[in-house]
Amino acid sequence: MDAGRHSLTARAWTLVAYGVPLAFLSVFFVFPLATIVARGLGSSGGESALGLLTDPLTRDVLWFTTWLAAASTVLTIAVALPASYVLGRYAFRGRTLVLALVTVPFVLPTVVVALAFLAILPRGLDRGPIAILIAHAFFNVAVVVRIVGTFWAGLDRRTSEAAATLGAGPRQRLLHVTLPLLAPALSAAAAIVFLFSFTSFGVIVILGGQRYSTLEVEIYNQAVRSFDLHAAAILSLVQLGCVALTVMVAMRLERRLGVRGQLRSERDVIRRPETAREKALVAGSLGALALFLGLPLAAVVERSVTTGPGHSLDAFRALTRPTSTLLVTPWEAIGNSIVYAAIATSIALLVGGLAAFALASGQGNRAFDGMLMLPLGASAVMLGFGFVIAFDEGWRDFRSAPWIVPVVQALVAIPFVVRIVTPTLRAIDQRQREAAALLGADPRRVRREIDLPIAARALAVAAGFAFAISLGEFGATVFLARPDHPTLPVAIFRFLGRPGALNVAQAYALAVILMVVTTASILLVERFGRRRSGWF
């Protein structure tokens, strides 16, 4: 009887861990997308599916999208690796701050970043693939630095030292020991960067000009500009297919590359740089990164105080005044953003956390794993659009429900939570759980006492990401935010659409505030994460 109850609660837990994420994604992801597809394929007229797919123009777009994403991924990793190494191996003052600051570009609204690059890149370079690549690297450096850097900080130094005693030089150690150990983190980060670059929207629209179009931009053009739902639906399916393929490859890689082992605590691994060479390495890597990330941000700040021929704080002062652009004062947009993002983060942590537990405990549930990754690749534009047409009538008219914005933001954040938390949970030594069980902890207690505390740091990192993504989310939110409840990015977008130096400067002023709020929140989460990991 005892055993019966035991297995019953275990079954109930499994049901919750799988059921909640599945239900959430079915209702808020699959259903809206299915609605788009059904409506698109159902509508008559337009090109045939086959015609569209074999159109050389579609092929060109697909090819351009793919190589652009691949090149962006390579460039991002190249830019991020030195800083990841420094963060993964050395302790220095302001380390937490660096981790927080590096995340800021990631959450800035794409429109703002694109404009910043437009302002600082020399003529000739400011439009086209090169500008897009640099902007993608700027955005995604945080993904690589945070995922790889944090993972690196958990790798035992002694493994590399053992290789050194076996005659491996620095290059061989990197190639044969460090990189293989880092592979799971690297492949996870690369997959995310690739997907982001693949579905990037704002950057391409502004920096690509008329000549360069990606799948995502084509979907938007077909759906919103030409109002050809049929073509948009087919292109969406193509995009979903590409994303699914990427996810499958990434998952296979992660599984192949994953090494089960005890991750060391960060405190045992990182140490202060000692020699002059080490100090120069730390300073150089971080300095270069600071320059790369700082210049565009500085341009944003500079523009926020450019209200006319001279510089002034007029744009910031104007934020407290109601404006016809927003229906409310810009300040209220800040409050909206924070509340929405906090709720979205809670939802994402709950759903994504449960999913991560399910993934880490179950063996080989690839379909489930893949489904959790898909929202990454579904374009935000598609999602927002899908929500609008799926939840539009009768009892399911949720379009103006106050929770709809956090839900769509959580959807975008969930894959991050899953990807960040699952590897940590998978890396927990099974004997720790066995030891806890033998000391009298039932399975639920084992999860609370072993898995949860060890995952706490990963959960905190995930929370930081989820919050930041929700704050900066634009493509979907713009469809769903009520006119009198704009979020910061939506407000920025509306200001940019208005003529006049003050309106543009107000947009940049809000971008500056978004930067500050993001930095502050990420810092807070990092601090929290640190305290929880005081056990380490």
Partner: protein, 313 residues
């Protein structure tokens, strides 16, 4: 009393435990001695409930453990490489089992202090586990397993990863501890010295079966078969086992016939172990205490005490 009754455990085609039976009486320490791959760790995992069995049953004080999940068994296990909770400090590691059974915080603190005292780590409460040496980690693991007063303590090669002097010291401490707290324990090891030192009885495990059980003296004087005798370091000739200390060795007089030639002479503490090659090519192991012992290459005569020879298989 722990009763392991005809237990079989398979991993795919490999049989780790093959119809194995073993009993541990209350207050008794049984050493399970075997080579690696003999199934001794699997045996512990079966008792702990961490390993599924294919047949047989395990009872503890008459209670069938089959349907009892690991966390309700009240069994302590000290893992080979400690498996300490690295996200907790020393005190929290030791307190874990006490918290699980719902002890009051002040009682827990007291008991943690007592246990750390018992294992020789007083005042280590707030230390981070990662900063401890291997020996200290093993002591914490021991304290952690003992804290909730397990009905039986299982130890899986607990000293395997430690260096020799440390192992000697911990061995002595364990010996004292086992006597002091009247523990019922199953101690798994591949090391003869540990098994003989700690076990009230020794169970020799071979290919998933118990080859022989008995007190250290019983095992030594009456090995059950040829393999056991060889495993213990005795010599077997023509179906008979010869104990090394029952063989006296004398240097042969120059020019006269001798029984054999000394192949090697190696000192182990107070004893010198000789390997002698007889004229027919067979080898005998002998142990002598004399300082003036024969060396390699010496021709020797042997005298064998009949009490030191038993028929095997």
């Amino acid at each position: 009393m722990l009763d392991i009754d005809r237990v079989t455990a398979r991993f795919g085609a490999k049989t780790a435990l093959d119809d194995l039976s073993l009993r541990v009486e209350d207050g008794e320490v049984v050493s399970v001695l075997g080579a690696s791959g003999s199934g001794k760790s699997t045996l512990l995992r079966v008792v702990a409930g961490l390993q599924r069995t294919d047949a047989g049953r395990v009872t503890l004080d008459g209670q069938d453990l089959g349907p009892v999940p690991p966390h309700r068994r009240g069994i302590g296990l000290v893992f080979q490489d400690h498996a300490l909770f690295h996200h907790r400090d020393v005190a929290a590691n030791v307190a874990f089992g006490l918290r699980m059974r719902g002890d009051a915080p002040d009682r827990i603190a007291g008991r943690v202090g007592d246990l750390l005292e018992l294992v020789g780590l007083p005042g280590f409460e707030r230390r981070s586990v990662a900063t401890l040496s291997g020996g200290e980690q093993q002591r914490v693991a021991l304290a952690r397993a003992l804290a909730p007063e397990p009905r039986i303590l299982l130890l899986d090669e607990p000293l395997g990863s430690l260096d020799r002097p440390l192992r000697e010291r911990l061995l002595a401490d364990l010996d004292t501890l086992f006597t002091e707290i009247d523990l019922t324990a199953l101690y798994v090891t591949h090391d003869h010295a540990e098994a003989f030192r700690l076990g009230d009885r020794i169970a020799l495990i071979r290919a998933g079966r118990i080859a022989q059980t008995g007190t250290p003296d019983e095992l030594w004087t009456h090995p059950a078969d040829e393999d056991v005798a060889l495993f213990l370091g005795q010599s077997v000739l023509d179906g008979r086992a010869y104990r090394p200390e029952a063989i006296s060795v004398r240097g042969a007089v120059e020019g006269e016939p001798a029984d054999g030639v000394v192949e090697s002479a190696v000192r182990h503490g107070p004893m010198v172990r000789l390997v002698i090659r007889l004229d027919d090519g067979a080898r005998l192991a002998a142990a002598v205490t004399a300082i003036d012992h024969p060396s390699a290459g010496d021709r020797v005569n042997l005298a064998i005490d009949p009490d030191g020879v038993v028929e095997v298989g």
